[in-house]
Symmetry: C2
Subunit: 656 residues, 2 copies
């Protein structure tokens, strides 16, 4: 049904001065075939987005014909990268990729928008040739920035092409990414926008007027405006952009493609309805007649009826992180410091160990105007080219960090917890769906944020991490544990959140006075810091030393309070909870997190799932905090050491 | 220590042609006094943001001197609104408000950045004169848009002034809000930006270069650039903007204020360190000498030592929603429709009942390019002036909806669940902190999104709602329940999330064949749809009719499966869970939500908290879904009706 006319060696880029007549003929044929495939795919599924697929199609065909791409080299380090940010034009992408030999189009016919298939409604990187999952609009350009930046880090010259819709330009994150790209002079980044003038609701200017030319110029980009269906014009524009034959060769370039939604099928052209609606059989046949394509709908139905392959990741993720983790640093028990500083020291040590090893994956530090607060200064000074100050642009930065992890880099993204997890939760979610692995080390978590008040108190991150199937979450209790957790997450391709407060903490000691958390760190394993069988308290982060102090003071009263450091908040240590429930049966949770959604909920639901009856009392944050020093805020929410002691006393004296 | 020189009648606006010499003298005196207060406040707290407070101060003083504002009329409907989006300049705001009689500055001396006080590190609307809590940058302009829009809705002419920082301009949401404001011709909206050229990390252009003039012009605003410390220039600019003596009188206006961080204290001017650092005692004394202010630090310490008032909302929230809820519509049991349509019908009915009643709070519908999908078309047609198409700008729209609820409006914000909850979780969080009450009715929740794939599957909203202390969450199971829930949330000033899928559902019937959910709806109360004592299943939304079908089919096998409709997901019905645990002891949860964080976790943790041992089996979403029809996706995740039946059989046969 379809000729795979693409050759299978790497294309040479936009080298020729212009298209040859052979190119023009081949492109015309491909356009016709791909347009028909777009109609077939959406007709077979009974849904999907033909309109934008047809309007972006010519740019896609040009790109895959000439860009340094090859289906046999879909993971080649020097390949160009293509990101389609308006992921709903998946039929156009699949049709184009099939034209260039990435897979047989029949696979897509069978699987498009079908449960279990890789050929999803929005593009996903389990399809060969797709670099980055999209679907939530406005995020693709940020991923493109990461790939363009990685070209410089690895000193491998390639281009990154990012396709976007015109409605999508309304998303705020686009303005962050384009500012970033201009600031970092990512001249190897080329965006192209399908300006078909229509979004779901109709005319883009009527829905929400925007001045694309002026906006992109204000952001410092080269702006080329052209007919997005003119193959000559497209070739020339891509050639100029890739050769930096632009007004500002140091700036990235955007192509504003004047296009027609539904282009090539006369009776759907410029009709917003076909943004997201497939054609009827009769309409498809009429369109085929216009295109001069044979009617094969019955054969297609038979093919579709045969079922589709189940989903599998065709393109493996490289999880074999190349990095030397060095020797953990042990802080003695007299040390009192903040986990932030221990993080900064560990990051510096990791960078020192790896920076001169050409095989090591580069560590990239990313901050959003909080370099000092998150203690990245020393890292910045050591490897300035690997430190990225991204401005107050957290949405962009979260995606940037995620996409970097797919480019043989080890990204550490650090800001306050509110801005690195809560504010950008959706970006972290798409990172997770991409099998990306940003290491998100965030400070100022819990009530321990200084006196900044409720907007800055990140007391709601635990369920966010639990919502992300692939993510892990660690909250170190002291500098020793911080050091070990940072090395642990650095070495593993896993989206990891590491949360810590702002204040200085004592280094935790065993009852014998030795550093308590200087052994190996292992996710999913909780460590008992004080033994006891009258009650058990589970705590993490800034509450742990308080729990230890409570236990030591209660011991003088004859109450033995077991203290468990629940630093591994995802995965949790269910065995440890159940053991405590069975052995002691009197449990406390103690956290500066929303009491309804934090560690207490995890412990309670572990008991409920196991069908084990125990007494459980949760201490946690009951309402939004006020502005004040952490000790005062803890007291305000019933979280002072004395509050824990009182709760433990009451529980220990209760009947079992 | 301070003269309250502001008079207590409503100012008359910027009517006079220019400042009088009396004005100039008074302003100079106020500037000196307020600058000293900024230094006092931050010195007393040992933290805070003097730099930006001093650079924004002149604009604030002008605004509160001439804007239509009065401390005695802080809730007057015709007052001008002032929003300070860069909420960290709270010392400057408090100093200004005290100068104009909103409270005695001594209150702020005693309470600033102290646990329990209203005088937080970032401004909060429990302080008289503060309209909107800020602190997470980039959101204030969206709130300002809502207040400016409400002026038109209520036909009350006033102005809305929004102050912002220059670093803040990097936030993507600013670009959404300014596009929206221009599109809706909010000419009564006046933004002013403190362009002091510094952010925490240093020079704004070095951190992340931006071209403010070009960006705001590209967005279609009038842009006035002026010396932000020149009282004449400030007055003239505010006068021109409020009188619409601008190049485009239909457009909003922004003032770019060229300022000096730390202005007025020579040795901290232009030093980024003082963005967020207080002065030492010696420095304050030196500054006082420069300003010609008496050294009163010892007296201040004594005042501070006396303690501060505890927090209370000085400005009450109007929770008495004026709206007629009409008569619920009852769908008969033969009806099969989607909850979206029942929502659209209920919204239309509410609008019809209230639109001609001048005392009723206007219902405002807000959509983000998904009007048809969320079934707002009929509402739009009925009251076009009260329908807001906000473009693909969800971050902006969420704040816009929240702020409208504080302006005697009933905002219904509708889009897909992914975009109205997940993507804008942080915006909904700040809405909650503002005691705002957007009614967020979102469709395409769970796996039931059509064939759009994992980026569109909102399977993670339950814990997000539970993270927000004030929020409620309802997931109707059929059109009758949808209708009642919509009327219920319309009438209450509570941030409410209502979630529903895309597909048509049967209208639920009692065993006797009557509509099962046509009674009153009450938050926190779960309704039993089928009785049974072999096992109990808790379900919500699209899973309920499947659970009922399973129960009816199992009855033929002699297994009595109790079916509970857990539509009130926050608050939950704990009594119902505990009753089932005690009576039956064999529980199932059945949900198209992340199995780790949804209803199953709520039931499990309720059991764990109560110390009740029961058998519990959770059925839910185990991993990100693929693209396909909902039935196929349910089957893929073990959520078919047959899967529930198998689980119920197994549980019913297990030993108790």
């Amino acid at each position: 049904m379809n000729d795979n006319t693409g050759d299978r060696i790497m294309n040479r880029g936009f080298e020729a001065v212009d298209l040859s007549s052979e190119d023009l003929i081949a492109l015309a044929a491909q356009r016709k075939a791909a347009a028909a495939d777009i109609l077939r795919l959406t007709w077979l599924a009974g849904c999907g987005h033909p309109g934008g697929s047809l309007s972006t199609l010519d740019a896609l065909l040009l790109l895959y014909r000439f860009g340094k791409l090859s289906p046999d080299k879909a993971q080649a380090p020097d390949r160009d990268r293509v990101i389609i940010s308006h992921g709903h034009i998946s039929p156009g992408v699949y049709a184009t990729l099939a034209q260039h030999g990435y897979f047989a189009i029949e696979e897509a016919y069978r699987g498009f928008r079908r449960a279990g298939s890789v050929f999803g409604g929005h593009v996903e990187n389990c399809v060969p040739g797709v670099e980055w999952n999209t679907g939530n609009l406005g995020q693709g350009l940020s991923a493109g920035c990461a790939m363009a930046f990685a070209s410089g880090v690895h000193q491998r010259p390639y281009h990154v092409f990012v396709g976007m819709g015109d409605g999508e330009q309304q998303k705020g994150q686009v303005s962050e990414a384009r500012r970033f790209a201009a600031h970092f002079r990512l001249s190897n980044l080329i965006a192209f926008i399908d300006v078909n003038g229509l979004q779901i609701g109709g005319d883009t200017q009527r829905i929400m007027a925007q001045r694309l030319q002026e906006e992109w110029e204000a952001a410092g980009w080269n702006v080329l405006s052209l007919d997005g269906h003119d193959h000559h014009a497209l070739y020339t524009a891509f050639r100029c952009a890739t050769r930096r034959e632009t007004p500002n060769p140091d700036a990235p370039t955007v192509l504003l493609l004047r296009t027609v939604m539904g282009k090539g099928v006369s009776f759907i052209e410029n009709d917003a309805k076909y943004h997201g609606q497939s054609l009827t059989s009769e309409q498809v046949r009429r369109a085929f007649a216009e295109l001069g394509v044979e009617d094969d709908l019955d054969a297609l139905l038979a093919l579709r009826a045969a079922g589709s392959d189940t989903r599998a990741h065709h393109v493996p993720v490289d999880r074999d992180v190349q990095i030397a983790c060095g020797t953990p640093r042990t802080y003695d028990v007299a040390t009192k410091t903040d986990c932030r500083s221990a993080y900064g020291d560990a990051l510096l040590d990791l960078a020192q160990h790896n920076k001169d090893n050409p095989d090591a994956w580069p560590i990239i530090g990313i901050s959003c105007d909080l370099e000092g607060s998150v203690k990245m200064n020393a890292f910045h000074k050591l490897t300035p080219a690997r430190f990225v100050e991204a401005g107050i642009q957290e949405h962009h930065s979260a995606v940037f960090a995620g996409a970097l992890s797919k480019e043989r880099c080890v990204p550490f993204f650090s800001t306050f917890g509110m801005f690195g997890i809560v504010e950008v939760y959706n970006q972290q979610r798409l990172n997770d769906q991409n099998s990306a692995a940003p290491r998100v080390v965030v400070t100022h978590c819990g009530l321990d944020v200084g006196e900044d008040g409720p907007t800055h108190q990140c007391i709601d991150y635990i369920p966010l991490a639990h919502n992300l199937f692939g993510a892990e979450l660690y909250a170190p209790a002291d500098p020793n544990e911080t050091d070990r957790i940072i090395r642990y997450v650095a070495s593993r391709h896993v989206p990891a959140f590491v949360t810590m407060g702002r204040s200085k903490l004592p280094t935790l000691a065993t009852p014998e006075g030795q550093p308590a958390l200087a052994g190996d760190f292992q996710g999913g394993r909780w460590i008992t810091l004080r033994e006891g069988n009258d009650a058990v308290v589970f705590a993490f982060g800034a509450m742990v030393w308080r729990a230890v102090a409570a236990s030591d003071r209660l011991a003088a009263e004859g109450i033995q309070l077991r203290v468990v450091n629940a630093s591994s908040l995802k995965p949790i240590d269910k065995d440890c909870i159940l053991k405590a429930a069975k052995e002691v049966g009197r449990l406390l949770t103690y956290e500066d997190h929303n009491v309804h959604t934090g560690l207490g909920a995890l412990v309670a639901s572990t008991l409920g799932d196991a069908g084990i009856a125990a007494r459980l009392r949760r201490l946690g944050v009951q309402r939004y905090g006020t502005s004040g020093p952490p000790d005062d805020l803890f007291a305000e929410q019933g979280l002072a050491t004395e509050d824990l002691m009182a709760a433990a006393r009451e529980l220990a004296r209760a009947d079992a």
